[in-house]
Symmetry: C2
Subunit: 369 residues, 2 copies
Amino acid sequence: MSAEGARRRDVTVADVAKAAQVSKAQAARALGNYGAVSDDVRERVQAAAEALSYRPNELARSMNTGKSHTIGVVVGDIENPHFGLATRGITDTAKKAGYNVILVNTDEDREAEVDAVRVLLDKRVDGLIVAPASSVDTGHLQEVHRSGRPMVFIDRTAGDMPVETMAVDMARISREATRYLLDAGHRRIAFISTLRTNAPYTPGMTLESSQIADRIEGMREAFLEYGLAFPEDLVRLNAGDEDSIRSITREVLRGPDRATAAVASDGLIALSVVEAIQELGLSIPADVSFLMYDDFAWTRLTTPPLTVIAQPVYNMGVAAAKALIRQMEGLPPAAPAQFTATLVRRGSVGPCPATTGKPGREQLAGKPA
Amino acid sequence: MSAEGARRRDVTVADVAKAAQVSKAQAARALGNYGAVSDDVRERVQAAAEALSYRPNELARSMNTGKSHTIGVVVGDIENPHFGLATRGITDTAKKAGYNVILVNTDEDREAEVDAVRVLLDKRVDGLIVAPASSVDTGHLQEVHRSGRPMVFIDRTAGDMPVETMAVDMARISREATRYLLDAGHRRIAFISTLRTNAPYTPGMTLESSQIADRIEGMREAFLEYGLAFPEDLVRLNAGDEDSIRSITREVLRGPDRATAAVASDGLIALSVVEAIQELGLSIPADVSFLMYDDFAWTRLTTPPLTVIAQPVYNMGVAAAKALIRQMEGLPPAAPAQFTATLVRRGSVGPCPATTGKPGREQLAGKPA
DNA sequence: GTGAAAGCGCTAACAG
DNA sequence: CTGTTAGCGCTTTCAC
């Protein structure tokens, strides 16, 4: 009987070396494909390795080389197809370059993110791609950056840290979308976001998310351009679960001064907003216009198809991975990529209806040429 | 000037030990929280660690202990919310138990899967959760199983391997859904799937995917129950990209003997099928009934809302992680979980229309009590 | 409790 | 080209 009963210990270079009758060093060289090895030795070693079905221990390898060929990815929520796609872009690119990906979910919670980064670093990932949960509270990220570990941000910025960032110009597209709504005659435009804050939105407040801050800023700018006051009261944050989204939507869409257009800050939220609108007995776009961020395929299937803001998420993932790999390989950064979101006009935005009590007329008068 | 210029080497236990004036062993014990350490030493070590901002090298730790506290997850496509949700269930559970997740995407390609498993094993993950791309070609998985490494399958089986598997009873729900369609008078029911095969579907053929095989089997059984012949010609595989899905849909929905109901095997495919139906000028459910697998939120938003087969994907992820962790910790397996999919009747299935040329009458005659 | 010393599996000098 | 000898950073005997 052979070594069957023994607790199956992994076979190591030493075992292979012995079997191939060469020194451990030579076996290692042949196996690891480095240094100089004669054809004869190489063949014997490979044969032995094959016979013993040897598999290198990457951990040991990493310990010596200092490289793990692994990149850590920290996102808020993989369940959201937005991140799903981005992650796909990252993993596709990483794999092509011989890197693996460790994925950590933070639920957009800063504490979890701090933790995630720490764990990843402890595991000695070669680099990090993170979608910062907060662009304000960035101590942990600054520390990483200071330590010199390669890092790239995706989807959002983290304060003004000098780290390569793959994100779209949110203020720009928000401005464009808002103009579109304004041109359609809307003045009461609601913006609904999941962003968690301690207090309801007030004009000057600091927002954790650069994305949301920029979107609101873009809206404000558009209103300003048109010489109109931005309806701050219609900016609604903390739209967490379905219930809160529904009640927020109802609130905003009721009363004589109701919103005539709603912008949902992501695809998940959009679902509940649209349902709430339908429950209210309002129809899109006759009674209320609707616009959402992210161009998911299903937005083409609703009646009417939804007007959306498309973001090149997959490409951002690809670019993030590429940039990180350049950093890890000590190459100079490529020219900063420019990602532009686009407004996809489908059927959910229509002309502003005369709101209850017909106060719509005078509002429309404010529209510039 | 302090050690600023030096290439910042990671601080190790040795450094901490020196600073705390204790032996390396004691420092390690205090830091790693094992063995016996006096309060005094522990405090000094912790203080020193803090001061030097020491972080353990998990690689080194893993090498010694043989545990990496990492589980490898191999799925076909994270971009698909189906897997996104499952992955979420896995990572949530893993994190709670102190495990990390390395995610690898296979694009449902067996070669890629073989590779993924190998890489993960080389990285010495403690266990594997995989959604087998093929339930036929399972050599690599059998090897893993034979090696004794903890492993759990999710979403589908791999042949008859004795490995814990978290999946729904597909044949059952498919039977139920088919009965529902049959009861509505449909006889020409098409089944459209992305599954890649070398040849078009023929009755006896071996299918790589246990899921798809079971679904077809379920349909066949339902037809049999009703004493009807199963329309094998309407089983369509290889619905890869949008174009092929569209042309398949058109094909199936045209002609005097066209299908009156279509079942889409996943949410991604569903989009194109529905669009193709609309392009054909047909309406759901008046002209053709529609049913799909996976209950994504957006299916409630279409007009009509879509009738779907809901699968407890998140829970399957949770269960898979839990089962794997039990295995890794040497505990006996819990009672095998039972996952049941449910048919969610919304508005996309209606009575069978009289098809072109009205040959529908005699078909309907075949319906049992 | 504590410390010295021996590994884990591999790579990396360094001499031949 | 090849073999010997050190480590990588940590855990783990094994004595004291």
